[in-house]
Symmetry: C2
Amino acid sequence: MLPHVIIVGGGFGGLKAARELRHAPVRITLIDKSNHHLFQPLLYQVATAGLSPADIAAPIRGVLGSQANTEVLLGEVTGVDLNAREVVVKDRRIRYDYLVIATGSTHSYFGHEEWEKYAPGIKSIHDATMMRQKILLAFEAAESEDDPEKKRKLLTFAIVGGGPTGVELSGALSELAHHALAADFRHIDPKLARIVLVEAGPRVLATFHADIALKTQRKLEKMGVEVRTNSRVECVDAQGVVVGGERIEAATVLWAAGVVASPAAKWLGIPSDRVGRVKVAPDLSIPGHSNVFVIGDTSTLEQNGQPLPGVAPVALQEAQFVARRIGRLVRGEKAEGVFHYHDKGNLATVGRAFAVVDFGRRRGTGFFAWILWLVVHIFYLIGFRNRLAVIFEWAWAYLTFQRGARLITDASPANSE
Amino acid sequence: MLPHVIIVGGGFGGLKAARELRHAPVRITLIDKSNHHLFQPLLYQVATAGLSPADIAAPIRGVLGSQANTEVLLGEVTGVDLNAREVVVKDRRIRYDYLVIATGSTHSYFGHEEWEKYAPGIKSIHDATMMRQKILLAFEAAESEDDPEKKRKLLTFAIVGGGPTGVELSGALSELAHHALAADFRHIDPKLARIVLVEAGPRVLATFHADIALKTQRKLEKMGVEVRTNSRVECVDAQGVVVGGERIEAATVLWAAGVVASPAAKWLGIPSDRVGRVKVAPDLSIPGHSNVFVIGDTSTLEQNGQPLPGVAPVALQEAQFVARRIGRLVRGEKAEGVFHYHDKGNLATVGRAFAVVDFGRRRGTGFFAWILWLVVHIFYLIGFRNRLAVIFEWAWAYLTFQRGARLITDASPANSE
């Protein structure tokens, strides 16, 4: 009987681990609560009506279907029994010999969970289509609104969080308003939409080099985005946000700040950091259980005195390390060594044909950075079909300014709030 | 002040009428309760995970944005005041000089509205993605199910209604099960999925010629679909359907039989037929109001002793007629003549590379009919981008058997029924 590896989570980390183990003498079960792998770096594009959900997601079964040693289970894990070596999925308990937890993170509201209903974040396709709907309905409502105060509020959008997601959202929203929707309305001028990006720290893109951050802010401002740094959000409600004592009236507030890990640490009953991430050993296993690994956003590991960031490349490299480790363990080989992350750099796109790249000594902004950003993101997309589809969608949008996926598909949008 | 034309509905009829009036000396307001025009003939493809919503829908504002005399309003019409010449949209009343009602139809359950929750139909993108989810979750549930009886029920699909929609749904579902999903599961063989098409009348495709209908049935049977004709559904519930006294246990029942018109007749307070369609005059206006027109599925007109069918080409030709009529009326020209529908024929696709076409004397089935079906459907799709996207998606699916849009995007699929 082959050893059973359970992988929880079909995101970057989980899927990579499964693929890297395809030739190992193991039986693999990958469990995810949704049926698709999501390319999260492009989720903001779905949220701003630039791409369709199917362009950035691949059914996990489609990816792993031909991998003979692997099966996929659609289910939500609710706990782990370390002693019995079992994973609990609803009313089933499944035994493992090796366990890889890669369940990611979700957005957090710094203790103000009540802000969530006013300021949605994007972590899933459902989130992204809901955000898209919220944005498009704001323009629709403004079109029919006679009161100029209310109209102004409907055309004001606040984005909280100046990291890559917030920067990308505000840039894309600005393009949507100033280009794609420009000719669509008769009683409003979408180009007059007010987009405010609010960042608590001293600059946007805190993980990038300072001059990159400065160029990004300048570019956003040129695109019509108001960038407020050193501005902590004190309140989020139906009227908008309060920042530094000032009320910004906005019908739409989007959340791109603050993450919290999945409940993995609770399942395992072991120490976690301030945002719930599991503190793993240098070989990514948990203390006392060398057959249980936690990778990606839901774990934390220090390197050079700093915790590794919750970004895709970290999850991918950790997955590869763990897969190799398990491969050696099942073959009875020596399994030594610790994980070391090779930071290849940071990328973010700011708008049409403008991105920023930071590879440490080599940095750049502008059109060529954007080409690089395109190439990297298309390369890492799972599925050849998806790559073609995204190239097609982007080429279309770039050439025509049309944002192709501007659908409101909720059951009764005309009656939505 | 230019005369105001209000068009209610942004489907085939409404959108065509608006476009045909783009050079007329009128002001147009098109009102729809959703923000997009939907290419309904391909909705079954979204429901069976072959196409994405954005491939078959176009934002109405995107289509009409450049039409200077036209504005779009997202709203739900709740009534018409014929005397005051006003359309009621929520709490607003909008005055018209000419009114075109093109609000379409929805599915009906022959008086058994309680069947709807067990047997959804497809009339909107929301319907289609919900149906897609239902279908995919049935396979997921069967994969985790140990009880062979329950497994068999989960892998049984019943489709009610043997018209083009039912035929197309069963053919596409068969392809999904027998090809696209074939390698995805480990505890079920999707090829063993049982698909039953139930038709109350003596044959499928009642509006097509008899030998076309026969060839269609044979093709479906070759594809693994059980076709039951002369079989009226007596009951639909959580266990499946009862047909001719026989219980067919099916976890998934899809409805493709029976339509009912939108409430237009009630708004206008005028006579309608058995399924609520407005009985229009030969010039498509309503009795006593030559400035109010009703077109498409929500109207009924006899030609050669038969009511015109509720298909897209009828709506398109009626829209053109009405637009020209209004164009003449506003210019003070003579406006005579009655509407005559030129029936160019019927098309339906049965499966991969097999369609049926019926142009009266010229009929055909098979691969070339399929090419024709492809060409016609792509031609009538609104939007060049959509046409390219659909060509791409279909070429991909045809070449690889992969059905690209297999996503379950509901908030918590692992916890769905």
